[in-house]
Amino acid sequence: MSVFELFGMSAGMLALFVAFGVLIGVLFGFFGMGGSFLVTPALLVMGYPSRVAVGSGLAFVFGTSVIATLKHRDLGQVDYKLGISMIIGTTVGLEVGKEIVLYLEELGLAGNIISVTYVLLLGGIGLFVTYEALKGGDGGGVSHDVDGDADIDADDIPELAKKIQSYSLPPMITLRGGVKVSLWMILLVAFATGLLSGFLGVGGGFIRMPALFYLIGVPVPIAVGTDLFEIMFSGGIGSFLYAQSGGVDLSIVAPLLAGSALGARVGSAATSIVNEDEIKIYFGLMLLLGALAVAVRQAGNYLGMGVLDYVSLALILGSALMVSGAVLYSAVKSMRAPSAAGSSTAD
């Protein structure tokens, strides 16, 4: 592949990848998670082989997490002890996940099974987020107004995490925020999330961050920072493993990353001026539409209707566009509101 092949890619495709990257970046920058798991289904819909869709998805996640971790580094929201323990469990899970994909690919079942898993996972999380948003609860997203240095209050620890923390299987390790938990529990959670990460080609943040909070009892800000740190490693290791089998396509990853890095800046800036609760319902709907998109594509394959592939791609791009647009619209509205109020009260 020569350097010109990146630009040899049709201008339309290049623009599509950069624009898709911007949309995903806005979502990632705003919500602190989500978006990257749209890449693999989009690539599958566009007809890339499962290995390339998953491998390039992981490489994109790796690049995005490097940028996000650099931003969180100075906030002190990373528990390195927990992160390194997670990396060990995740590495094993990733390798097993990759082997499962390669095995299913040999059987010709990889695309179908990955798609079905996506539908169930995205649909389930989408329902949860939408339900919580309609209910007015706090679940399903990362709160922006959190204090990374605060010790966790016992009342804030979920019941399941208290139960898991009660298993005193040595060695026990003490985490930031005063949480004490068995190393084996951490390794188990890491293995399960690594398995999904390798199998679906996602960083696993939208699974691992809630798992760290709900299962281990780590305070949310530390869960986010440590999760990003860990994704950087799991994404890098996963990319390496897939690159060995020719699964990483730089002509996909480079434009996506260029777009997402810009979008993440915009999304991060929007967090300080937009009320997240206004947007959360759109985020839940986007996940549901993502699940529907993959289901439509599978139905198209089953029925031999190629047109459904395009319907599916339109659903994925449309849902990402809808949520990113809602974030940007709210941000612009919020920025204009104080200005208008200021001009009316001037002097």
Partner: protein
């Protein structure tokens, strides 16, 4: 791309991951500088000031 195809096996895989890492760091620094330079102007323009 970037002569990576001339490498083989693990070296090629490591080079691919390295290219993504370098691109991410360049983008972080580049967009950071761009944000610092143009951010206030863009905010003023959007805010209607």
């Amino acid at each position: 791309m970037f002569g990576i195809e001339t490498l083989s096996g693990n070296a090629q895989a490591a080079a691919l991951v390295g290219v993504v890492l370098v691109e991410a760091m360049v983008l972080y620094v580049g967009y950071g500088a761009l944000t610092a330079a143009l951010g206030p102007t863009v905010r003023k323009a959007i805010g209607g000031e």
